[in-house]
């Protein structure tokens, strides 16, 4: 029995039991993908007609005319593109089921305390429906970030230091150790810092000072911002290569962040960055990557008057490293990120740069490149076969392997589709 058949049989058996589209883990794949366009996103670049051999879940060979040993399933891709499984951006995937049902939302700490040690990925639920939906649409991994919200009606809100961000795979594995710390500045930060963006820098500087003074970590003097655990977490971001993601949009705020990080020995990334193109030379010089929303087009606030659909193109041509994330952070939007990348291409970003921003670049930026982001010999197979151009809205993900295992392309949504399609076709949808 080949692995494709196995997947189908396993799925059928599972559906018979539960009626759901979630499959049990498939075995490690042994499969030869033939005649695809292979976007390796590695030093091998792109094979216009190429094969990928997966043995025991690992990429065993990439080449032009590979042969399969007996027992290995062969799939003729007939010219379909193959890419590394895509990045879903920063998101609440797996930690929020329904945005407006707070009981299903573990994203945001609202204690009115600065808790850098808050790690929402500890609440990650691989069985959340949006995870399966993302998987069925060619996503491989996302960075689970903490939210930030002011308190309502005098209730405590979040802190400018939101907590820890972690890479999560969508194949059911637990998230990894945190990849970054996130901080909200700009207009949003001001709302969390006594209504002044200047105060946000003041509080952050104080917290860093506390973190730099471990001898004082046990003390509990009034006005203190951090718990001992929080101090240790924050200290681990000072003078190291661990990135701090700053949510900010206004050019002057971005400039201030770069300056602040130089003085405080932090390694910044900018998330949002609506006006980042205006300070592109500075960002290129300081090697600060930008995680931008390719749909940004309007001045959503006074922080983003200079918003343009050409942000990605302009940053890229200035030599700034970019990757993408949708501003909403909503699980439902994760699958839409590749459409955003396509729009960035329509507005001047080279196609290859757009694909890199969805694959190898974020994998590298968030320390997940041993697993994700490229198709390389020796790495676990994390790749997707597309019906056409992966950035095109008329293309879909047809097959996906994550961590070497073939994934089901079904979700609760395909179950609903298949329940109602016969009614639509027979004129009984009423």
């Amino acid at each position: 029995m080949n692995s494709r058949m196995f997947a189908r049989v396993a799925l059928a058996a599972w559906v018979a039991v539960s009626g759901s589209g979630v499959a049990a883990a498939a075995p490690l794949a042994n499969v030869l993908l033939k005649n695809g366009i292979i976007f390796t996103q590695s030093a091998l670049s792109t094979l216009d007609t190429g094969d990928v051999l997966i043995t025991d879940g690992k990429v065993a060979a990439i080449g032009r005319t590979l042969d399969a040993s007996p027992g290995v399933e062969v799939i003729d891709l007939k010219g379909r593109p193959v890419t590394p499984a895509l990045f879903g951006g920063l998101s609440f995937l797996g930690v929020q089921e329904i945005e407006e049902e707070s009981a299903t939302d573990d994203t945001t700490l609202k204690l009115g305390q600065m808790r850098p040690e808050f790690e929402p990925a500890l609440a990650f639920n691989p069985d959340a429906v949006p995870v399966a939906v993302a998987r069925a649409e060619g996503i491989g991994f996302s960075v689970i970030v903490p939210g930030a919200q002011a308190g309502d009606n005098g209730a405590p809100g979040s802190s400018i230091v939101n907590g820890l961000a972690s890479v999560a795979s969508v194949d059911g594995r637990s998230p990894r150790a945190p990849a970054a710390l996130t901080v909200t500045l700009g207009e949003g930060g001001a709302a969390l810092a006594g209504n002044s963006r200047a105060a946000a820098f003041m509080l952050l500087a104080q917290a860093l000072e506390e973190a730099r003074s471990p001898q004082r970590l046990g003390s509990l003097e009034p006005g203190r911002l951090l718990t001992p655990a929080g101090g240790r977490v924050l200290a681990s971001y000072i003078g190291t290569q661990k990135p701090v993601i700053f949510f900010a949009d206004r050019a002057s705020d971005i400039r201030a962040i770069v300056d602040f990080c130089e003085r405080h020995e932090l390694r910044p990334m900018i998330a949002g960055g609506a006006e980042a193109w205006r300070v592109a030379p500075l960002l290129a010089r300081a090697r600060v990557p930008v995680i931008l929303d390719p749909f940004d087009s309007l001045p959503e606030s006074f922080d983003s008057i200079g918003t343009t659909l050409e942000n990605a193109a302009r940053l890229n041509s200035a030599g700034v490293t970019i990757t993408f994330s949708l501003r909403s952070l909503l699980p439902r939007d994760v699958r839409k990120l590749r459409q955003g990348a396509g729009n960035a291409v329509a507005h001047g970003l080279p196609w290859k740069a757009a694909l890199a921003a969805l694959t190898n670049t974020p994998a590298r930026l968030f320390g997940a490149d041993a697993d994700f982001g490229t198709i390389e010999v020796g790495k676990a197979a994390n790749l997707v076969v597309w019906s056409g151009d992966p950035l095109e809205v008329t293309s879909v993900a047809e097959a996906s392997w994550l961590d070497g295992r073939r994934q089901t392309m079904r979700s609760r949504q395909t179950e609903l589709r298949d329940r109602y399609l016969p009614k639509v076709l027979s004129g009984t949808a009423r």
């Binding site: 206004r250 699980p331 008329t394």
Partner: protein
């Protein structure tokens, strides 16, 4: 048109009422007659004179379900004059070579909050929901529209020539909508689509019961929503009855007409009575199939006409029912899951609604981002349909963005398709519009070039964006 005191009258009874009021005025010579306008905030939009344009050799999606290859379209006098191959060029006509490019009707978004929730999202401009009472049928969205919203210009770059601006969905009955042409103007009246009917916005489900229930006020449940709606329609029926009695007395002439006292005017009931008379179609925010079915029954109970359900994430479950009742569904391609009533959204929704006999599928945005690329939203829906064997061709999918929304807004006789005599609302795309890479090259509104992609450096349309230092280039 100015007419003498009555409520939201139809044109057909105006002359009778005018004569009657003359009598009243004579009987009370000291008081000036009370004059009530049937159209108190009229459109002042008049398209500029446009040179005739002959667009040649385009792939034309007519919006009537037809695709015409290598076809010419002549725009003259603000209208579409001719469609054909090898059309002769009238003298002085501007010729646009469109070989390899696609031409469609101007896109129409039936669900926008541009102007009422403009950018930037400052507190001073949160004008879309009069969330102070669950029923605000008295308010008109047009009185909140800020014409300087930068979102209008970006929607235009996405091919939007006409859009309906609605009040938000906090209320059971949110107020009247307005249909605008996407033209630059200082006042909303300068954008108002001439003689387009207003709509009436209602909302099912979670929003009204959450907004008011959280204030310990009705409605706090779905049954409360429905009871609240019905109480309003009952009042509107009484109001209409009083109005009809009064009109009958005026028509009878003589002393009875002279003594007739008009019923007290009420803006809220004006709107609801106009809906009962069929002058204002309903545009109902409703996600779930079961709730749409309730609203269909309610429309029968009271006799109002539902033009379309908006959002309608479960329209696919009742696609036949909607089609049989002649109601459109205005949908997103892939929004789902942000609240319980959107939890069953699927990417095939639009294609399923379209696939049944007489189905009326519309792609809407409800978003200042989505309105910039309705063509891409339709492309996603097309793709999902094809994957399950529903073959949607471009000439079909374009109807979701043009003909069907025009039908729902009551303006299909004037726009929404490429047919002779219709308004010259036309988009020339740089290729097949159902692509992530498609861009509108030129957008015509009433034959006037409203957008030209080659004109890269132009002052921003919005006064708000004018002179903003942040728009000016890179700093080191």
């Amino acid at each position: 048109m100015r007419v003498i005191r009555t409520r939201a009258v139809r044109c057909t009874v105006l002359s009778v009422l005018g004569a009657a009021l003359t009598v009243v005025a004579l009987a009370a010579p000291t008081a000036a007659p009370i004059v009530v306008s049937a159209n108190p905030y009229p459109s002042t939009y008049a398209p500029a004179d446009a040179a005739a344009v002959l667009i040649r050799n385009a792939t034309v999606l007519t919006g009537t379900g037809t695709r015409l290859d290598a076809t010419d379209v002549l725009l003259r006098g603000g209208s579409i004059e001719a469609i054909g191959t090898g059309l002769p060029a009238p003298e002085g006509v501007r010729i646009v070579e469109a070989k390899g490019r696609w031409l469609t009707p101007g896109l129409i978004d039936v669900h926008s909050h541009l102007g009422v929730y403009p950018s930037p999202k400052v507190s001073a401009h949160q004008d879309g929901n009069e969330a102070t009472s669950p029923v605000t049928a008295n308010v008109w969205a047009e009185h909140s529209v800020w014409p300087e919203d930068p979102g209008f210009a970006l929607a235009l770059a996405g091919g939007i020539t006409t859009l309906e601006i609605l009040p938000g969905s906090a209320n059971l009955i949110g107020g009247r909508s307005v249909v605008l042409k996407n033209v630059a103007a200082v006042t909303y009246q300068g954008m108002k689509f001439p003689d387009a009917p207003q709509g009436l916005k209602m909302a099912c489900g979670e929003n009204p019961k959450r907004v008011y229930g959280s204030r310990n006020q009705a409605p706090s449940t779905r049954m409360g929503n429905v009871a609240g709606d019905r109480a309003q329609w009952i009042e509107a029926q009484e109001y209409l009855r009083d109005e009809q009695d009064y009109e009958a007395k005026l028509r009878s002439g003589g002393k009875e007409a002279a003594d007739a006292k008009p019923p007290k005017r009420d803006l809220r009931l004006d709107t609801l009575a106009a809906a009962l008379k069929g002058e204002i179609p309903l545009q109902i925010h409703c996600y779930r199939a079961d709730e749409m079915a309730i609203m269909l029954d309610m429309s029968k109970e009271f006799g109002f006409r539902i033009a379309s359900f908006h959002h309608a994430t479960e329209a696919y479950k009742i696609a036949n029912l909607l089609a049989e009742r002649g109601v459109c569904a205005a949908m997103w391609a892939d929004w789902w899951g942000f609240k319980m009533e959107a939890n069953d959204g699927i990417e095939e929704n639009i294609a399923f609604v379209d696939a049944v006999p007489d189905g009326c599928a519309i792609v809407h945005s409800d978003s200042d981002e989505g309105i910039q690329r309705l063509n891409q939203e339709a492309a996603k829906a097309m793709t999902r349909g094809r994957l399950v064997g529903i073959d949607v061709k471009p000439e079909r999918a374009i109807t979701w963005l043009t003909r069907n929304p025009a039908r729902a807004l009551g303006i299909l006789d004037r726009t929404g398709t490429i047919e002779p005599g219709k308004m010259a609302d036309v988009v020339v795309w740089n290729g097949n519009p159902f692509s992530v890479y498609a861009l509108a090259d030129e957008v015509y509104i009433d034959g006037v070039v409203a957008y030209d992609r080659t004109q890269k450096i132009v002052p921003p349309r919005s006064d708000f964006m004018l002179g903003q230092p942040a728009m000016v280039g890179v700093t080191p």
